[in-house]
């Protein structure tokens, strides 16, 4: 498959994701009162405050238990590895138009198993709370003429968040396997090429959904904070 096609797809994908997030962000009119205070004029360090604010939103709620601490640690580590992998994986190909090699490859290959491990742990710890139970399918409920078990309304965007979770989880399988299988003498040159393409395109999908997931997670957390 043409390498420039992947380049185009990656650029278009990231641009569309960022544009969609920005558009959604503007349309959803989030409240920044907690960050900047009410009716306060903008200050020079406000953009930095905003960034830090968003990062803090990704610090999932701390539960005072070993599992809680582990979950938080693993989630943050996964985000860090994800960022490293995206940068080292996409920058050489998309920005410089070269194959990933040298230090880029070293860092990529170092972060990759950590990310894989984190995803596996998060899959176990978060799968249940991300179940798409019947509360999230009002249309389906209406069609089936049945009432949801819980009357509590789900958080806004939570359905999208959970869908993103499952897409990321599903995509992580071909991403990991395509890389690790290529390290065994199983596939020839054509097979290696196919594995590489699978790795690239699945990674692109995973990355886009992961970005949307992080955005939605931050947004939900911000709304939750504002509601308190």
């Amino acid at each position: 498959m043409d390498v420039s096609m992947f380049r185009t797809a990656a650029v278009a994908g990231f641009a569309a994701a960022v544009a969609a997030i920005l558009l959604h962000f503007v349309v959803s009119k989030p409240k920044f009162d907690d960050v900047f205070g009410k009716d306060r004029p903008l200050r020079i360090l406000d953009p930095l405050r905003l960034v830090i604010f968003f990062i803090t939103l990704l610090f999932v709620e701390q539960k005072w238990s070993l599992i809680g601490a582990l979950r938080k640690l693993v989630f943050l580590l996964a985000i860090l590895c994800f960022l490293i992998l995206v940068v080292t994986g996409f920058v050489p190909r998309v920005v410089f138009g070269t194959v990933i090699s040298s230090w880029w490859l070293m860092i990529h290959a170092t972060a990759a198993p950590v990310f894989a491990g984190c995803v596996a742990v998060l899959a176990v710890l978060w799968a249940d709370r991300n179940r798409l139970d019947k509360n999230y399918w009002p249309l389906l409920n209406r069609m089936l003429k049945r009432q949801p078990q819980s009357t509590a309304a789900p958080e806004k965007h939570e359905l999208k968040l959970r869908i993103c979770f499952w897409v990321v989880l599903t995509m992580s399988l071909p991403v990991i396997l395509s890389a690790v299988v290529s390290m065994f003498p199983l596939f020839g040159t054509h097979g290696q090429d196919v594995l590489l393409q699978i790795h690239r395109y699945c990674t692109l999908l995973l990355s886009l959904f992961a970005i949307i997931y992080l955005y939605l997670a931050a947004l939900i957390e911000m709304n939750r904070t504002a509601a308190k």
């Binding site: 194959v99 090699s101 040298s102 230090w103 490859l105 070293m106 290959a109 170092t110 990759a112 198993p113 894989a116 491990g117 995803v119 596996a120 742990v121 899959a123 176990v124 799968a127 179940r131 798409l132 019947k134 089936l144 049945r146 499952w166 989880l169 599903t170 992580s172 399988l173 990991i176 396997l177 890389a179 690790v180 290529s182 390290m183 065994f184 003498p185 199983l186 596939f187 020839g188 040159t189 097979g191 290696q192 090429d193 590489l196």
Partner: protein
Amino acid sequence: MAAGVEIKLGDTPDGSRSNFVHLISLLSEPLPGKEPDQIHPDADPVLPFSTKATCGACHSYDKISAGWHFNAIDPNVKPGRKGQPWIFADPTSATQIPLSYRQWPGTFRPEQIGLTPMAFLESFGRQMPGGGIGEMVDKSDNPEETLRSDVTGKLEINCLACHDGSAGMDMGGASGYSILVIRGNYRWAATASCEFAYVTRSIGKLPNEYDFRAPYVSADSKVKPPVVEYRKGAFGHNDGVNFDIRREGPKQRCYFCHSNVDVRDGKTEKWFADEDVHLAAGLTCVDCHRNGLEHDIIRGYAVESRDSNNPLTTISSCEGCHLGKNGDKPVAGRFAAPTPKHAGVPPTHFEKLSCTACHSGPWPANETINTKTARAHALGIAGANKSGEVLPHLLYPVFAKGQDGKIGVFKLLWPAYWATMADGNIMPLAMETVKSATSRAITKTAFSKTGSWPDLKEEDIARILTLLGEKVDAGAKVVYVTGGKLYSLDEGGKLVSADNKMAEPYMWPIAHDIRPAAQSLGVRNCQDCHTTNSPFLFGSVSADSPLKNLAGREMVAFQDLPRFYTKAFAFSFVFRPWLKVVAILSSLVILGVLVLYALKALGFAAKVVVGDEQ
């Protein structure tokens, strides 16, 4: 066809794959403006035959003369990928310098060290098929040489060198082609190589007035002209002879100039090494290295189509036969070439490595080994120095980045020569000048019986530089290049050394011998190359020089790779198994979660379908 271009009888084949019988008349070199005469075995004197006249009667000699083996002196011919140069090696002057009439970076033109066409032929004509510079002896800048060329004749293209299929063909024997060329008997050389001819004596002391067509008697009984004897019975009907001509030359013909042998424990035992896997499979050299009448023979590198007009270059490289990617139609599998799977080899290897890197030459070792080649060491010629230490010293396998930007396997020569340096330019000195100084400075006891470097010390170098300084123009600085360094005298007369681009080794890529796929690099695992002490990356290329204890270099220095990164990357392969384990276990866990929740979803869907989901 352009007007005036003659098409001869043998120029256009009729397509038959059978061998054409060459029962033909032998023709002698004609007088200027005359037709060549037929040679009769009972004539006096018996003349040597001229290939230009004999073979040229039916094949366009001028077209053939433009072929790769003969066109080095044509400045309009693209030099193409760097190849093996002619190496002038002289232990008495501690010199080994790469020469070529082609414009290969790192080589010098023979005239730069004072080699006239005849001097060049004396050194290297032994393993040249004639033509080219061999036919330029009458155009030498040296008037003595021009005059002498009437006696020596020209070294015409020796068609038999490649196309003679007879067992008795004599290229390197004591009275064969090479010896006659070394002795300046160019006119008789091709005849001497012919299996039914025998040439004795030499033109050595003959005066310039000697006419090879006339009987010659000298007052000095020791001065006798070359004598040609044709085997009785070789001449048949109408005094025609039968040449065993093969359109596709047998491999032994190629081997005469293109043999290689590794030096192991100082010996050059050829039975120790296997033949190229292609030859072992039944191919011949010319199956891949093909040409038509123009003799524009395929050299066989991947991007040769940029340099050659031969239409088969694109499909005659490694990729051409084994992958078949270079043609506009499927060509893979030519000569039953297997299509490689390269299972588990990341595709980036094919962007960074040439095919030869993994498949050619000996398996890499911690140290390079010395190798000898036919053209560099006169292999196959009577009287050749059989020592494994004789100059020039060629090292291999060196894994280096080539002109195509890919890492391949190379042979390497550390140039050693005396030169002048002015404005940063280095010009080698004429050998005559050099020898006048080295003969005074190097004592005979310093010479090796094996033909290796003389035993020189830094003070010897300093003395020779001082002596040479007296012979060159004022303002020119005399230097000695050896072992990758440039030596000169500072203002105080002390010997100093420095790095210099001109001291860099000359390397040329090799392809043969190809190892079987089962012996290719990486066939066992990645660690064939990716370890912190792998010879492929960190093997040592020793610095070869008459001076002892010069530091060599690691392979990685020739590959344009940063050493620290390369070491770190190689070290990372220690953790590669862990990476695989973590990745596989993670995948299994993720798969388990996905399957579990997919089954839960399925269970829910099933309940919904039967109306039992509450």
